[in-house]
Amino acid sequence: MVAAAERLTRLVDAEDRYDIPARELREAQLEAFNERLQERIGQIKLVAHRAREAGITAVRCFEDVVRLLLPHTAYKSYPESWLMGKRWDRLSKWLDTVSTYRVPVDKVAEADDVDDWIGRLAGEGFLVSCSSGTTGKSAMLVASRRDMEWCKTEAVAAYAWGSGVKPAQDRRIFGMAAVAHVARNLATGEAYVAALQDPSYARFAYPVPPITVGGLTRMVVLRKAIAEGTAKPGDIAAFEEISAARQKAVDEAVGITARAVVEARRSKLHVTGLWAGLHAVASAVREMGYSAKDFHPENSIYVGGGLKRARLPDDYREFVYETFNIRPERNYQNYSMQELHSGMPRCRGGGRYHVPPWVVPLILDKGGDHLLPSVAGEYEGRAAFFDLSLDGRWGGVISGDKISIDFSPCACGNRGPSIRDNIVRYADLEGDDKIGCAGTVDAYVRGVT
């Protein structure tokens, strides 16, 4: 008999995967979770520790599952001083505590810098992706080669379902943002190209160098040095110079990209990026005198992430859609997070994010400690998920997101659980009324951008 986790993840190819009511999946999901727990308890140290603390060896209900989830901050729990001090041996040992497979510490400990460390780990089959902590720490998420293969399949499948586009290698992809140069982005990027890109055209190369992990962490490291009082004014000035040079490249990329996209306007396009960049290119295209009427009517779009603190006019979305002639149904949106390897595509009929069968949604109280009782209709709470597809690390994560979920059928007709398009981060909801005389040196570090 095929294991439950295997049965559920195989549904990635099933047409009706979002149409299975949650109650019909319950049993299989619990069984699958137990399978994962039995495999990983001897592999992932942090999970073993958590299970020991909770006194759990097997789960009988979702309440038990909650006690074995890791908060998203678990992947940021390494000391930054190791990153700063290039202590790759220690960082590797830390990574080992959240990794399914044993990290070959000795083979990577001698790395020259963080990019080299990540490169060496990749060579050994440990693919580390970093989140871009804009002011705080970067999460370091380890994954396996198998995970990358999964991401490729899943990303394209979710896109096809959410956008209604049948991948046929008949589009030209225009990436309009510098993507972080991390394993997972590279894998999904590759998959999109294989699925969508018309092979008779070269892929558009966005004219800004990709952001490496070293680039992502440079600011974090500098902040720490400032806090400790070891950063010299020259270090700060040098960093600001690099930032300014990069910003200049980003600014110049707008015109280059706009000209390229106008030239390609008769082809069927797939546009991706972040809102700020897309809006800038759209404005440049309009200034050149082009708009919706000049572009192909079947163009599609995928926008990653939210506004990321960019300031744009209220109608920024419409402006972008109207510029590139994106019809509403070709506007693909997906709810996911770095900690998961599966997305929840937004449906065209109800405008809600749909949870696939291999992702177990667990809605917790605000503190993230308890499973909320499931009720009829929609209710809100802290999002937690167990992604059964994950191989290289634990699939259970408590997010920082506040979501509204409904386990009854969506207006689009699909009967699986779905999430309203009003997701916010708890951190953004908290007031700033928190005043005390006790505090850290963080308050003394003026922003480096």
Binding site: P71, D433, A438, G439, Y444
Partner: protein
């Protein structure tokens, strides 16, 4: 009782009058309890500059008498204002009720005649300047009068220590200021209760007429953009850092200055002498645990990092005993608040890295000690101490930074050797280990004499001696 839906009443106080109302319901940050408050009538909490401050011509001695009487009334068990305050506060505060009660009692102790006089004498070379225009003549023969003139102050109060309310009221009164207290959501009660106690003594007293206390959500631009202007106030006296201060900073400019009591981290430094004998070790650990547990580690003076001179084996003896003492002190005060998710996660992942860290206790809110070779990167709070092994105390000095406030030190005879370097690094106080809490009356706070900075120094030039 349902803490989520219960709404507690939080009236305001405006220049002698109690303002009651349930116009706006606010949420307390820590417990998710709601409290109802009146709408703020901005015009009532600002006194036009065309009117001189009510306290200006009240002699300091009389002000101090009034404060002393207020202190006596505060501790009177029949004082309905304070009783009701403690009752309501215990529902919205992170600290347990017993700790709060003793804090309110302790806070009243600040209202002592000798103490207040000492504070003034230490802050002003000539305290007479508060009461009168003090004549002065320079060596060229120019004459003038100088007055520590009554300022207009907004006090942005912290929420972690009710004692600050008493201190702020007393200090504001002694400099004869017109005071507006912006209360915090975790204590929107104490300040008003004290002012009610004062109004009960004499509702028309100029002190009472000089005080207003209101709450608005920090950062609420509809209030702050209107109020934070030099036409209404001279100084914003603010506690805290991060967003709380960033909010305030944007309103500063010519005529509106900031007097900030910055967010601070306190540490302890323990020399190898602590290990001379088991008995000494026990004594030293007890002192260290007292410093860790000041206000159950909510206060800035509470120690969070303890630099111990010695290797792992030595430090581990210290840690084991320290853990016991923290657990005992936490249990005695009835404090079993759980750690927040992120802190818990940090500590748990450290438990898995036994090469680098050793942990005593668990991340369960009953007390926890972490031993490491470098200070941990999170802010140890809620009964969490980080013992850092250093080869020598010279090494500990490099961890002192601009956020360091109090350094508890053992042995006491090595303190003088280190104080210059500690000050140079940014520290503000060096104390004997175990004495983070008490301070010499009238000593500087946050590297300044605050009262001296509160006042509006005014000169009356009176020409040259004929």
């Amino acid at each position: 009782m349902n803490a989520v839906t219960e709404v507690v009443s939080a009236p305001f106080f405006a220049r002698g009058e109690l303002l009651e109302g349930h116009d706006v319901v606010h949420r307390s940050r820590d417990l998710g309890v709601h409290f109802a408050a009146p709408r703020i009538d901005l015009d009532r909490v600002v006194q036009p500059r065309t009117e001189v401050p009510p306290l200006l011509d009240v002699p300091l001695a009389q002000i101090i008498d009034f404060l002393v009487e207020t202190g006596q009334r505060m501790t009177d068990p029949n004082n309905p204002f304070m009783q009701s305050c403690i009752e309501r506060m215990s529902r919205t505060h992170v600290l347990p009720r017993r700790v709060l009660e003793s804090q309110v009692r302790g806070a009243a102790a600040y209202l002592d005649e000798r103490l207040l006089n000492t504070v003034v004498e230490r802050n002003f070379p000539d305290p007479k300047a508060l009461d009168e225009w003090v004549p002065h003549q320079d060596y060229t023969g120019r004459r003038s009068f100088v007055r520590a003139f009554a300022p207009r102050l907004v006090h942005v109060l912290p929420g972690n220590s009710p004692g600050v309310a008493v201190k702020s009221i007393a200090q504001g009164a002694m400099v004869k200021a017109i005071n507006l207290f912006k209360m915090s959501s975790s204590d929107p009660f104490t300040t008003v209760a004290i002012l009610q106690t004062m109004a009960d003594i004499d509702p028309r007293h100029p002190i009472v007429k000089s005080m207003s206390a209101v709450y608005w959500r920090g950062g609420d631009t509809s209030v702050e953009r209107a109020l934070y202007r030099p036409q209404y106030f001279d100084k914003i006296v603010a506690w805290g850092g991060g967003e709380a201060i960033n909010n305030v900073v944007q309103y500063l400019g010519p005529g509106l200055q900031l007097v900030s009591f910055d967010p601070k981290t306190s540490i302890s430094v323990v020399g190898k002498e602590a290990f001379a004998s088991d008995e000494t070790l026990h004594t030293v650990v007890d002192l260290a645990s007292a410093d860790v547990m000041v206000l159950n580690q909510e206060a800035c003076v509470a120690s969070r990092f303890i630099y111990v001179e010695g290797g792992h084996d030595t430090a581990d003896r210290f840690c084991a005993r320290l853990h016991e003492r923290i657990v005992e002190r936490a249990a005695t005060s009835g404090d079993a608040r759980p750690l927040d998710l992120e802190l818990r996660e940090q500590i748990e992942s450290m438990m898995l890295m036994s090469d680098e860290y050793r942990i005593w206790g668990r991340a369960d809110g009953r007390g926890c000690v972490i031993r490491s070779d470098e200070p941990v990167e999170f802010h140890p709070i809620n009964k969490t101490a980080n013992v850092v092994c250093v080869a020598s105390l010279d090494e500990a000095v490099k961890y002192v930074n601009v956020a360091t406030q109090t350094v508890g030190f053992y042995p006491f005879n090595r303190m003088a050797t280190y104080r210059d370097r500690l000050a140079s690094g940014g520290a503000q106080r060096i104390v004997r280990l175990g004495e983070a809490g008490p301070s010499t009356i009238g000593n500087p706070h946050d590297a300044m004499y605050p009262l001296h900075r509160f006042v509006h120094w005014m000169a009356h030039e009176d020409g040259r001696v004929p």
